[in-house]
Symmetry: D3
Subunit: 330 residues, 6 copies
């Protein structure tokens, strides 16, 4: 394929065969196109999907590397039409670029390729909205650094839905799934005060990390605080505040922000978390905001999932976001 | 058994042996009688239960055929006394008729028997309230047609709790679990405007089906709309409106109306659905309404269930409905 | 160990090795000490944990005997710092005493040892707050009787979070998991009117038990009633009322008070129950009350659990209680 | 039922409804009759089945109490005709007596009832062959004692297929699943030299138990020794030797004699065990022997089973035994 | 695709993307080509694979309809090189045609399409060897009838590896998974004496079916008989005998011929069956025989599988057959 | 602990508390000592156990990092006395050193520590026999290199029980679980002709790897070849040949050498493998040989296990080896 500018990618491992020229009752796998053997006219696309099958960088054991394919399998059971909003996502053109190639034993090299993939996306078709499917949370640091490299003059803010700060010490852990936000702050990519973390659970963040968060000015709202105030309000406030400070808001959704009953398939699944109706509303609101320019979904281990609950919730998260995005487009 | 007028039925596969002449601490399996070898005095009974072990008519793979026996096993762990309402269901007399005989390879013939079973129920002991336990949603079309055949002059309305319209094209699918409501409308059994569908999820209904629903006047409220308005209010409004238009309201509960965390054991389990506390209240309210004259519970695949969550929720749905029914009786 | 005054206990089966002299990022298993080979200075401790691996006394099959070790394993994934309240539980000193020795075939003898363990705790270090981890609910009768033996002049009240009355007939069942509250009432240990049971589900309590509860004056609020009134309000009212009548409030949490989706791992898991956010708030409130002087967590069968949901919720229940306790201490 | 002489039994919890007067393609559940509401002509029967739902007496946690019903459910998928031998088991008349009533908290009382049940069987219809379905191995001691009480002058031998000696110390464990053979020896019911234990695994028997076995003259052959010699040969030799010494050979099959891949559903499932083809041949051979007069199958926990492997293997074990029994009858 | 002569097929639902022009370390999914958008030069191919996702025709509940995709997923973990025989299957050219389209509610119509697919295969590229992946055993009747229609003058024999006769009464069951061989005999497609069934288990075939088998001259060897004689010998004898009587030997492998430990994922999984080493040798031997001209693999329900054991064994069965086929080719 | 010379190790995460001074009925966890807080007299010990929780180096997703603790948990159910051989392993003194510390994102650094651990073992108490519990197969290269560094003048041979060659290209994969033997050969640590690989499966090794094996002179016997010749014979021959060529034979057991039914919990579980009775005999034989001086067990992912089959088989493998070792000692 001559114009597939992605030496660092494997094309999607599975291509869903389009069985018919369906124009009605379109399922998500019949809508999202895949980068295949033929020429791609990039100008046709609105959204790109990037799979990042890396979870060797996780602190606890994780098969989040298998999530990109798990979500691709699962979105076969979703349609493109959102009856709640009378919006058909099929008005957007979406292409699945495939997966970033991973090295078996060299995590740093895999991370380098992830960053390069984002640089390439921003260089070759910057009009498209990139959605990255992890993999673990370490990838967020690489993706945001890639964005920064492609747009060195932009100020970037982070809207993070997460049960953890992800501010652990880089010196101890390296670029792991517990350190991406600290990585971005320490590298000067993002300012602490441009990070808004919403949904932190009670017993899963060390006091030291809170102190660090306070020190660098990270904004955070625990799940319990968010629910009292109204999650929609918290999200709206964060977007409002960020939009006055930064050029680009990067939305990162760590699926462990969910309560364990909604997200049993996350390595750190825990009580006291968000409900899906709250999460879907939150990301739809973010999708509507014009400064939200990239998104990722991370830390979902399909092997740990129960009854596909988490994987389906992750697909719905992506589709809820795109519903907001469609509203924005109008 | 001389007066068991059901050549199209197998008697319940299991008969729970009554171990003692218990009059207290009655469990549901000790309360519901089963049609056995002895004469039945039909005039004694208030409610009949009919098992319909058919799911070959499902679009996706389903073992909903095993649900009647799964619910019979599970209701052993429920008592008859509802502490919340201080109502003892044991004041009702309930008999389990058994299961409609199924043909291994001839779905049309199985469907014919289901219809005949409802005709027989309405002919032999019309004072009893029939509860049908599916099987998949295709059975609803047969049961309502059976009712219509037994009562040709009645106008029938449908109160449907479902994540789907079930209005797919009959020409493509035949009498499948995606088509029962369309089947009833196209056959003239029920008018579109006499259907109220509550609880539809966001991404699981094609735009074409919404257009068809609008065209034939089906009333519908998505889950998100219903929650905003209050589900109790939506149910009450639907019952009110229907009661002015029809003689008989048929309640059909597709268990996939539940959110995937409450109903992991439905073939189409999906995010964005109803919670059980909402469902139990909804059916109890329907149970209180004098025009609700029949009910079914469908599309529960016990093999797909997790920790018996869905099967137990289905049993509770039946018992919540009967709690409402007891209030009506008073 | 010369001053380990517990001939009726086995020390904890596992001792988590302290790998480092960590002072930060403390996990619960690094914080809770275990009674080992060295001398214990009991005056240093605020809270004692007692494992009671008994579930042979359960009416239905239960492996709740494996719960003490399951919770010990699971609390490894919790930290001591509660971000929601900015409280670090590590300000409390906690010691795990180990498990009450069980006889293979003599349940009465095992029960005797449980009672003796509570007597020993109250005798040797009465300043510590005892948390008992069952095991099934039969143990509560033994623990409260032990307390009474150690403090014969105290009046004891019970705050019970449970889906059942636990008032079944002792003559039929013996000291089983369905009879502990009746056992305490009939033995004169606790007065019926000093029992407050909150969270009872609809279809899981016989009419006879309600009549008995009314007869002996047990106070109860069903789950549905509690949710209408506000669970926090119900808890506060119960504590208020009890605190005027008794010297000591014993808090017993039967995990089956939870809805089946939050507590799939309880032998009697059922629909219509409490949500974890409600439970965590309830026990935190109880933790704050100075008259609450002992607590247990019972009826959790880890083999029946799904995705560790119930076990993690149980650990969080203990930590939420201790959060309240820390507030009390200040 | 006037002539159901079993006050200590509950009738089978489930009665499989005979749907038709089938004379061909008979399934096991259509063949085995159940003691129901009508008079039983005991003289018609050849074999009686007794369920013993007791596993509170197990050293490790066990739900073997659920095995009688699990096997009853599973034998629905077996036919009565054994194609391998051209023998139709339906030539035997078999009746399922039901389950011995269990006390919730008094194991000794449950044991007493088990013994009484065997006495009753031997008194009321001694011409029938009793098959007992456990439950755990503690029941064997009670059943053999019951036999001895009914036939005080008979000498009894034991053919035991087991991975364990079951000779643990009664003083420590009481009448648990680790002590039945010692119980029989110490009580003088059976002589040590009249016990033949075949199939013991390598690492699951303490040296002390071997010494005790040697001391009291128990005959034993480890799995590895048995396989070298040929299991059929070992069985034949044991039967031969026993038949010269005793009047009655009692066959007890502890399902943990199987290798873990054939018996994953036993509490003590372990490597290094018997294969089913060996076990089926062994019990068929025992079935042929005229002095084998009773049999039990124990220590199968259906909750621990994988893909119903162990439960189906247990049903096949019973049917293989009866195949041998049919040959004997001719 | 202009020359894809299969209106009755859907192309494979998934196309494994060839990531590189690998010439070494070829995995099965990189070797088997899929009928895609481009022209196919049929003369290049040696073997065709046909998926048949039908299991509505099964007597018991079955998701064997999901097996074609399950095997396609699983063969990704197998290589093409057989180290045991030093044979590289990649010397064969194999194309996956896709799946026969299924009707949701009309089994007869689905069966018609299956037959048409075989007719088309035999008409368009009769030099290729067809391997059909079911689906349930009902498909074998359709496939053999299709072969007969394409080659009306050929005499066809059946080599069947199965735990069942599959000779049930067509009048009762219709063209179900219990009747295919009877269907072929009664329709005159195959003579009873040209059927060799090897591996029948003990308790899973009614006496009536044996009598019918004897009546129509079906040759059969039970698993126990086969093992005594040596399975290789039995297979060789059957092939020898058939090769003197028929033009074409059709090999059908019902995966339930395996013992339950090797095939837990078959709807009728049962004790007393074949081991995989026996099955692999048997099909490899059949693969070597020049008169074996078609093969199918049926009755594998991937949802019922445990640890992918059965699906992987089915893939190995196909590859062992092709190993034999390669030897034949030389 | 002053004389714990292992800065690169964490002590075992769990210490099994010795509840009593048992001298009889010793379980494995009561026998194996753990390096704790007190001084260790190394001269007392015969065998050391080293846990290596690394599986980030695996080609496919693996939680083999959790295997050391899984085996420690599982050996609680094994006794020390081997009835088959009348050998009590407790005559050996064994100490569990703990686990090699792992870096979250730097695999090379983790590998370095593994090597250092072996060097330390050989330096500090070279009279002990080291058993290493992986982790994935990449660790074998590190352990053998560590041995070589400690004993530079020794010639080392490898006895490998494995379904794979593990000779993949280091340039592509790095020091992964597919490359350890090539790593040892290319680094000059071991000669190709001093490697004996037994048990290779059919379809899981590329032709290129066989060619490389032939090129460097690796000796190999496929599973099928080994079974024809007799596995004991193959092992004996390999040991015999190696003992004439090398000073030290290192035994490495990749659990995927087992058939998928015996080892469902290996990442590459596949049909066509070894049975446990064959494996146990093989390692016992190796244990007897005086030149076998170290052993490891690798590539077992406990999360993928079914019914603990693989973990228990791995523990038995270790104990069978030590049984052989005891015979050697005498």
């Amino acid at each position: 394929m001559s114009n597939y500018p992605y030496p660092m990618l494997n094309r999607p491992s599975m291509i869903w065969t389009k069985q018919t020229d369906k124009t009605s009752d379109l399922k998500v796998h019949e809508w999202i196109e895949t980068a295949g053997d033929t020429e791609v006219n990039w100008s046709n696309y609105d959204v790109t999907i990037l799979g990042i099958p890396l979870s060797k960088s996780s602190i606890s054991t994780s098969a989040a590397s298998e999530n990109p394919d798990a979500m691709r399998q699962a979105w076969k059971s979703f349609g493109t039409y959102n009856l709640d909003e009378d919006i058909d996502l099929a008005t957007l053109k979406v292409i699945d670029l495939g997966d970033v190639k991973q090295h078996v034993t060299d995590i740093a090299y895999s991370h380098k390729r992830i960053k390069e993939a984002m640089v390439a996306i921003r260089s070759h078709h910057p009009h498209t909205f990139p959605i990255s499917i992890g993999g673990d949370h370490s990838i967020t640091a690489m993706l945001v650094k890639g964005w920064k490299e492609a747009h060195p003059n932009e100020t970037i803010g982070i809207l993070q839905l997460d049960s953890h700060f992800d501010l652990r010490d880089l010196k101890t852990f390296g670029p792991a799934n517990g350190t991406p936000i600290r990585n971005l702050i320490e590298s000067g990519t993002v300012k602490g005060s441009h990070v808004h973390n919403i949904g932190l659970h009670g017993f899963f963040n060390a006091k030291e990390l809170k102190d660090y968060a306070d020190h660098v000015g990270v904004n955070y709202t625990t799940m319990k605080q968010a629910r009292k105030k109204g999650i929609q309000q918290v999200i709206t406030d964060a977007l409002e505040q960020l939009s006055q400070q930064v050029d680009t808001i990067y939305l990162t959704v760590d699926m462990d922000v969910l309560d364990i009953i909604h997200g049993p398939g996350t390595p750190a699944a825990a009580p006291g978390g968000m409900y899906t109706e709250e999460l879907f509303d939150a990301v739809q609101t973010a999708g509507e905001h014009p400064k939200v320019k990239a998104m990722d979904i991370v830390c979902l281990d399909p092997r740990k999932d129960v009854g596909q609950i988490t994987v389906k919730n992750a697909v719905h998260t992506m589709l809820s976001f795109l519903t907001g995005y469609c509203k924005r487009e109008k």
